[in-house]
C-alpha cells in the first residue's frame, strides 16, 4: 500500500511543478506563435461553421426540404468539412514547427551547458528530451492552446444561440459543463494514473526480462530455467492485472460519457416537447437545439480530454524545462597563449555532492611529459576535466601560463589545450572528416597521410575501400580499438595544440595494440606538453614527471626513480602493472 501512496503523492507534487514547467515552456520554448494564432483563427472559424451547419441541418430536420435550403445545407456541409480539415492541417503545421524550434533551443543549451551540471550527465535523457519529449510536450501544449479555446468558443456561441430561442435551453447545456469538468478533474486523472501504473509495470516487465535475457548464460549454466519461467509469468501477470484495471476504467469512463450523452438528449426532448405543447417554441428551433446539444457534448468532451492530456504530459514538459534551466558555461575574454605551464593550486572539487578531490596542488611543466597515475576512482579523470575547463573547482584555482583559466575565453583556451577522453573515439562519417574534426584550416592530403604514417596506421587506412573517404560506422564500430586510438592521435597531431591531455589512451586495447599506441603517442607529441592518465608501465616510466593520486589527494610528484624511492603506494602500483603486462604475453 505504501509505495502506491507515495506514488500518488509524487504525482501530485509533479502536477504542481508541471504547471510551472508548462508556463516556463510557453515562455522559453520559442513556440511558433504566429502559426498557433493562425491555427486558432481557423479553429474558431471551424466552430462558427459548425454552428451554421447545425442550423442548416435543423431546417431539414424540421421538414423544410425546399431546394434553396438543400443547397445551403450542402454548401455548409462542404464548408464544414473543409474547415475541419484545414484546422487539422494548421494544428499539424504549428505543432511540427514548434517542435523544430524547441529542438533548436534545446540543442543550443546542450552545446553550451555546464558539463558538471546534473542534466549533462544523463545523456539518454537528453536524447529522449530532444527526440520524444519535444514532440510529445508540444503536441499537448499546442493541442490545448488551440483546441481548448476553440471548444469553449463553440460552447459559448451555442449557448448564446440556444438562449435566443429559449433561456430554458441553457439548463441542459449548463448541466453538461460540470459533468465534463468533473471528468477533466477526476475521471480523466484516474484514467491517467492507471495508465501511469501500466507504464510502470511495463517498465518493470522490460527491466526484468532484459536483465534475465542478459544473464541467460548464467541461468542456463545453473539450470534456473524453470524458476525463471515462473518468475516471468508472475511479472507478466502483474502487468495483466493492471491492464485489466485499465480496461475497466476505460469502460467506466466511456459509459459515463455515453450516459450523459443520452441524458442530454432526453433533456432536449423533455424541454422541447413541453415548450412546443405550450406553443412557446417553433419546431425548427426545437430541431436546431436537438442537433446542437450532441455537438456541444462533443466539444466539451474533446476539450476536457485535451486538458487531461495536458496534465498527463507532466513528465515530458518538466524534463525539458529542467534542461532549459541548466546553467551555461561561462568563460573570460582573454586570449590564451600557445603554451605555458599548467598549475593547480589547492583545488577541491565535488561531483554529485560527493567530494572527489581534496585540496590538490600540482604543476605540469611546459614541453614535458607528465603521467597521472593511481587506482581507478582516485580522481585522475576529474583532474583532466578540471584542466580542460569542463568542470570548475569548488575552491582553489587552476593557472595556465600564470593566469587563472577562468579568465581565458573558452574557445581560445580549448584551442590550446587538447583533451582526448578515454574511448571517446570519433563521430561517424568519413575517415577524413573524423581526422579533421575541430580543425578550421585547410589540410592537404599529404599532411594527413604524414600524420597517419607517424602513428603507423596509414597502411590500414589505405587498405580500406575508399581510403581516407572510407566511412566510419557509428561509435567508430568499423575500426579496431587500436586503429581508432591511432586515428584519434593523428587527429591531435593535425590539430597541433601545445598541450595534450590523454585519458588512458591504451586502456581498452590488447597488448600489441597497446605497444603500438604507446609508440605513436611518444612519437607524435615529442616536445609538447603531454599529460597522460595511464596504467601502462612503459608510459609511466617514460614520463618526465609522475603525479601519484590516491583517493582524491596527490600523494607524490616527481620522477620514476624518486617515486620508487619515496612513495610506497607508487611502488605497489608499479608492481601490479608489471604483473598485468607480463601475463598478457608478448
Amino acid at each position: 500500500m505504501s509505495p502506491n501512496k507515495s506514488n500518488i503523492k509524487k504525482e501530485r507534487e509533479g502536477s504542481a511543478g508541471s504547471f510551472r514547467s508548462f508556463l516556463y515552456l510557453l515562455r522559453h520554448g520559442k513556440l511558433a506563435w504566429w502559426l498557433i494564432i493562425l491555427g486558432e483563427a481557423v479553429s474558431l472559424g471551424a466552430g462558427s461553421v459548425a454552428l451554421q451547419f447545425t442550423n442548416r441541418m435543423s431546417d431539414l430536420v424540421a421538414g423544410d426540404f425546399s431546394m434553396p435550403t438543400l443547397y445551403r445545407f450542402i454548401w455548409m456541409t462542404a464548408l464544414y468539412a473543409v474547415f475541419t480539415g484545414l484546422s487539422n492541417v494548421m494544428m499539424t503545421v504549428a505543432m511540427t514547427k514548434s517542435v523544430q524550434r524547441l529542438r533548436t533551443v534545446l540543442w543550443d543549451r546542450m552545446m553550451h551547458m555546464k558539463l558538471s551540471s546534473k542534466a549533462a550527465k544523463k545523456a539518454s535523457e537528453m536524447v529522449s528530451a530532444i527526440n520524444a519529449d519535444a514532440t510529445l510536450s508540444m503536441q499537448y501544449i499546442i493541442m490545448s492552446l488551440i483546441g481548448i479555446p476553440a471548444a469553449v468558443y463553440f460552447v459559448v456561441m451555442a449557448a448564446v444561440q440556444a438562449a435566443q430561442m429559449s433561456t430554458r435551453f441553457l439548463i441542459p447545456i449548463f448541466c453538461l459543463v460540470p459533468v465534463y469538468i468533473l471528468y477533466a478533474l477526476f475521471v480523466g486523472r484516474w484514467n491517467q494514473r492507471t495508465n501511469h501504473t501500466v507504464r510502470v509495470r511495463i517498465g518493470g516487465l522490460t527491466g526484468f526480462l532484459s536483465e534475465r535475457l542478459r544473464s541467460l548464460d548464467l541461468l542456463k549454466a545453473y539450470g534456473a530455467e524453470e524458476e525463471e519461467k515462473r518468475r516471468g509469468a508472475e511479472t507478466a501477470e502483474k502487468l495483466y492485472k493492471e491492464n485489466v484495471r485499465l480496461r475497466v476504467i476505460n469502460t467506466v469512463t466511456t459509459v459515463y460519457i455515453l450516459l450523459f450523452d443520452s441524458v442530454s438528449v432526453v433533456m432536449a426532448i423533455l424541454f422541447g416537447s413541453s415548450m412546443i405543447r405550450t406553443g412557446t417554441l417553433r419546431p425548427t428551433e426545437w430541431a436546431n437545439f436537438f442537433l446542437l446539444l450532441p455537438m456541444v457534448n462533443n466539444m466539451l468532451r474533446s476539450a476536457s480530454g485535451m486538458w487531461v492530456n495536458v496534465c498527463g504530459g507532466v513528465g515530458f514538459t518538466s524534463r525539458i524545462a529542467e534542461l532549459l534551466k541548466t546553467p551555461e558555461e561561462a568563460g573570460g575574454t582573454k586570449e590564451a597563449p600557445d603554451c605555458g605551464t599548467l598549475l593547480a593550486e589547492h583545488v577541491s572539487f565535488s561531483y554529485d555532492g560527493k567530494e572527489v578531490l581534496y585540496d590538490i596542488s600540482l604543476s605540469i611543466p611546459e614541453g614535458k611529459t607528465t603521467a597521472i597515475v593511481g587506482r581507478s576512482g582516485s580522481g585522475k579523470t576529474t583532474i583532466l576535466n578540471l584542466l580542460e575547463g569542463f568542470y570548475q573547482p569548488d575552491s582553489g584555482r587552476i593557472l595556465y601560463a600564470g593566469t587563472d583559466i577562468s579568465e581565458y575565453s573558452l574557445s581560445s583556451y580549448r584551442r590550446r589545450i587538447a583533451y582526448v577522453q578515454q574511448d571517446s573515439g570519433m563521430f561517424s562519417g568519413t575517415i577524413r572528416e573524423a581526422l579533421l574534426y575541430g580543425i578550421d584550416r585547410q589540410v592537404s592530403d599529404e599532411e594527413i597521410i604524414a600524420a597517419l604514417e607517424k602513428v603507423q596506421v596509414y597502411e590500414d587506412i589505405a587498405a580500406f575501400p575508399g581510403g581516407l573517404d572510407a566511412r566510419v560506422a557509428i561509435w567508430g564500430g568499423s575500426l579496431s580499438g587500436g586503429q581508432k586510438q591511432k586515428l584519434v592521435i593523428a587527429r591531435e597531431i593535425l590539430r597541433g595544440t601545445g598541450t595534450i591531455l590523454l585519458d588512458e589512451p591504451t586502456a581498452s586495447l590488447d597488448i600489441s595494440a597497446r605497444k603500438a599506441v604507446f609508440f605513436a603517442v611518444r612519437e607524435a607529441f615529442r616536445g609538447k606538453t603531454l599529460v597522460t592518465v595511464t596504467h601502462e608501465l612503459q608510459m609511466i616510466r617514460d614520463a618526465d614527471v609522475i603525479i601519484m593520486v590516491d583517493q582524491g589527494r596527490v600523494l607524490a610528484q616527481g620522477s620514476h626513480e624518486e617515486l620508487m624511492e619515496h612513495c610506497s603506494a607508487y611502488r605497489e602500483l608499479v608492481l601490479e602493472c608489471a604483473y598485468e603486462e607480463e601475463v598478457e604475453g608478448r
Binding site: G207, D510, G585
Partner: protein, 560 residues
C-alpha cells in the same frame, strides 16, 4: 501476399496450445450485435420524436430512455469483455514466449543483448492479440453493416443503393492511400533515424565536441537536422490529416446523398422528415462501422509485422535439456580434440587440442579475443564445435543431457552474475535449497564473511537488477559463493576475481583453490599470481594452443 498467409498460418499454429477465452469473446460479439439492434431502435424512436416535433407521450420517452440505457450497457460490455479477452490472450502469449526464450540456443540470443527479444514480449505480443480482437471486431462490424443496410433497404431502397455505391469507391481509395502512406513513411523512417543517430552520437560525446571547439559548427549542423526532421514530420502529419479528412469525407458524402434524395421524396410526400433523419442516423452508423472496418484492416496489416517476429522467435530451435545420458557414468578429465569454432564465418579456434586433467587446476592464458571464454561456452554446450569433439572421460559431451552436463559444472561468468532479488535467491539460483549454515560456511571459508555482515539484512538483503547496489568486487563474491556452494565436479572461472581489490583477490583465490583441491578447475587468468596458483597452464594464441604444461614454463615463455 502468399508469404504472409503462410506466416499467418504459422502464427495461428502457435496458438494451438494456448486456451483462448472463447466464452468471453462470444459474449462480447453477442453484445456488439445486440448493440446494432438497439441502435436501430434508438434511430426509430428519434425519428418519431422528430416527426412529432418533440410533441411526444411519456411512453415514447420511457422507451427512448430504456433503449439508450441498453445501448450504453451493450457498448460498455463489449468494450470491457473484448478488452479483457485481449489481455488474457496477451498474457498467455507472453508466458509462452517467455518459456520459449528460456530454452533458446545461445546463437539465437547472443547478438541481441536482450534488446529486441524483450520487445517481442512487451510490445509485439500486444499486436498479436489485436489480430484476434480485431478479426472479431471486423466480423461483428461486417454483420453490423449487413443489419444496418437491411434496415436501410426496407426504409428506402433508392437511397440505400446510392449510399451503397460509395463503398467500393471508399475501399479503393483507402487501399491506394494506405499504400502511398506506407511507402512514404518507410522512406521517412530511414531519414529520421539517420537524423536522430546524429544527435545521439553528439549528445553522448558532448565533451569531444567541446574539446574540439566545435560547438558552433555542431549547432548549425543540428539546426539542419532539425530542419530535415521538421520537413519529414510535417509530411507525415499532413498525410495523417489527409487520412482523417478522407475518413470524414465518406459519412459527409453519404449524408449529402441522404438529405438530397430524401428531401425530394419528402417534397413528393413519399417520406417524412423524421424518416429521413432516422435514415441519416442509420446510414451514419453504417458508414462509421464501415470506416472502422477499413481501419481495422489497416491495423491487421500492421500487426502482421509483429506477428512474424513472434512466430520467428517461437519457431527458433530449442535446447533439449533432458535428451541424452546422465552424468554419473562419466569420469576423468576433459579432452578437446581438433576443435574448430567461430561465431560467424570467421573462425576463432582452429583445430584446438587441449587436455584438462581431472582434479587439477588449469590456468588459461592468452590475449583479448584469443577464445578463452569461447572455450567455456563450448564446454557448457552453449555452442557446438564446428568440427572436432570434446570428451569428458570416455563420453562425448554431446552424448550427455544438457541438464546433467551443466549441473556438474559451476560457471562464473565475467559479468551479469547478479540478478535482481535477495542474496538468498541469488545463491539458491536453479532451485537449490541451501541453509543459512551452508551460506555461512562457504562465505567464511572464502574469507568473505565481512561482505555478508556488512549487508543490512544479510542473506535477505534485496539486490538490485544486475547487482546495481553492489560494487564489481561484491558481485564477484556472490558469483564465487554461488559456485562453491554447489560443490561442483568442474569449476569454470572467467576472470572471476578481477574486480576484487588485490588483497582480497589474493586471499579469495588462495582459499577458493584450496577448497577445490579435489575438483577440476579451469580458470581464465588475468595476472601472474593466478597462473602461479594453478597446476598447469595453457597459453592460447591465434586459435590454437601454443603452450601446455607447468605454469613456470609459461613464465619462461613470457620471458622471465
Amino acid at each position: 501476399m502468399k508469404k504472409k498467409e503462410a506466416g499467418l498460418v504459422a502464427f495461428l499454429r502457435n496458438f494451438r496450445d494456448i486456451r483462448l477465452p472463447w466464452a468471453i469473446l462470444i459474449i462480447s460479439v453477442a453484445l456488439s450485435i445486440g448493440n446494432y439492434f438497439v441502435t436501430l431502435r434508438v434511430a426509430e424512436l428519434t425519428s418519431d420524436v422528430v416527426d412529432k416535433s418533440g410533441n411526444i407521450v411519456s411512453g415514447d420517452l420511457m422507451a427512448y430512455i430504456l433503449s439508450a440505457l441498453a445501448m450504453v450497457l451493450c457498448t460498455g460490455g463489449t468494450f470491457l469483455l473484448s478488452g479483457v479477452a485481449a489481455e488474457k490472450i496477451n498474457l498467455s502469449l507472453r508466458k509462452k514466449l517467455w518459456n520459449k526464450m528460456m530454452h533458446l540456443r545461445r546463437t539465437s540470443y547472443e547478438a541481441d543483448q536482450g534488446e529486441s527479444l524483450v520487445s517481442r514480449i512487451t510490445v509485439d505480443c500486444d499486436f498479436a492479440s489485436t489480430l484476434f480482437t480485431t478479426a472479431i471486431e471486423m466480423l461483428s462490424g461486417a454483420l453490423g453493416i449487413g443489419i444496418y443496410y437491411y434496415e436501410l433497404f426496407t426504409k428506402n431502397a433508392k437511397i440505400s443503393v446510392l449510399t451503397l455505391l460509395l463503398l467500393p469507391a471508399s475501399v479503393l481509395i483507402a487501399f491506394l492511400y494506405g499504400r502511398l502512406r506506407y511507402r512514404i513513411s518507410e522512406k521517412n523512417q530511414q531519414k529520421l533515424s539517420e537524423a536522430s543517430g546524429y544527435l545521439i552520437e553528439r549528445i553522448y560525446n558532448l565533451k569531444l565536441v567541446r574539446a574540439s571547439n566545435m560547438q558552433e559548427e555542431e549547432r548549425k549542423k543540428g539546426y539542419e537536422k532539425f530542419g530535415e526532421q521538421y520537413r519529414l514530420e510535417l509530411q507525415r502529419g499532413l498525410l495523417d490529416s489527409l487520412d482523417s479528412f478522407i475518413n470524414a469525407a465518406f459519412p459527409v458524402i453519404s449524408m449529402i446523398i441522404v438529405f438530397l434524395v430524401g428531401g425530394k421524396l419528402v417534397n413528393q410526400g413519399l417520406m417524412t422528415a423524421g424518416a429521413v433523419y432516422a435514415f441519416y442516423l442509420v446510414a451514419n452508423n453504417a458508414s462509421t462501422a464501415f470506416s472502422n472496418l477499413i481501419h481495422d484492416f489497416g491495423g491487421i496489416k500492421e500487426s502482421f509485422g509483429a506477428l512474424e517476429r513472434v512466430t520467428g522467435t517461437l519457431q527458433e530451435a530449442e535446447e533439449q535439456l533432458l535428451d541424452g545420458k546422465e552424468a554419473d557414468e562419466c569420469e576423468g578429465g576433459i579432452r578437446l580434440s581438433e576443435v574448430s569454432f567461430g561465431y560467424s564465418e570467421k573462425e576463432i579456434l582452429h583445430g584446438l587440442e587441449m587436455e584438462i586433467p581431472e582434479n587439477e587446476i588449469t590456468a588459461l592464458c592468452g590475449g583479448n579475443g584469443a577464445g578463452k571464454s569461447t572455450l567455456f561456452r563450448l564446454m557448457l554446450r552453449f555452442y557446438e564445435p564446428k568440427s572436432g569433439e570434446i570428451r569428458e572421460g570416455a563420453l562425448r559431451l554431446s552424448e550427455l543431457s544438457l541438464r546433467a552436463l551443466r549441473s556438474g559444472i559451476a560457471y562464473i561468468p565475467q559479468d551479469h552474475m547478479v540478478l535482481g532479488g535477495t542474496l538468498r535467491e541469488n545463491l539458491n539460483l536453479g532451485g537449490q535449497h541451501f541453509t543459512d549454515e551452508d551460506f555461512d560456511r562457504v562465505f567464511s571459508e572464502l574469507g568473505l564473511m565481512d561482505f555478508v555482515d556488512g549487508l543490512p539484512e544479510r542473506y535477505d538483503t534485496e539486490l538490485l537488477p544486475d547487482g546495481a547496489n553492489l560494487s564489481g568486487g561484491q558481485k564477484q563474491m556472490v558469483g564465487l559463493a554461488r559456485a562453491v556452494l554447489r560443490n561442483p565436479k568442474i569449476l569454470l572461472l572467467d576472470e572471476a576475481t578481477c574486480s576484487l581489490d588485490k588483497k582480497t583477490e589474493n586471499a579469495v583465490s588462495t582459499a577458493l583453490l584450496r577448497g577445490m583441491q579435489n575438483r577440476t578447475v579451469v580458470l581464465i587468468a588475468h595476472d601472474l599470481r593466478m597462473i602461479r596458483l594453478a597446476d598447469r597452464a595453457v597459453l592460447i594464441r591465434d586459435g590454437s594452443v601454443c603452450y601446455e604444461g607447468a605454469p613456470e614454463g609459461i613464465e619462461k615463455l613470457l620471458g622471465f
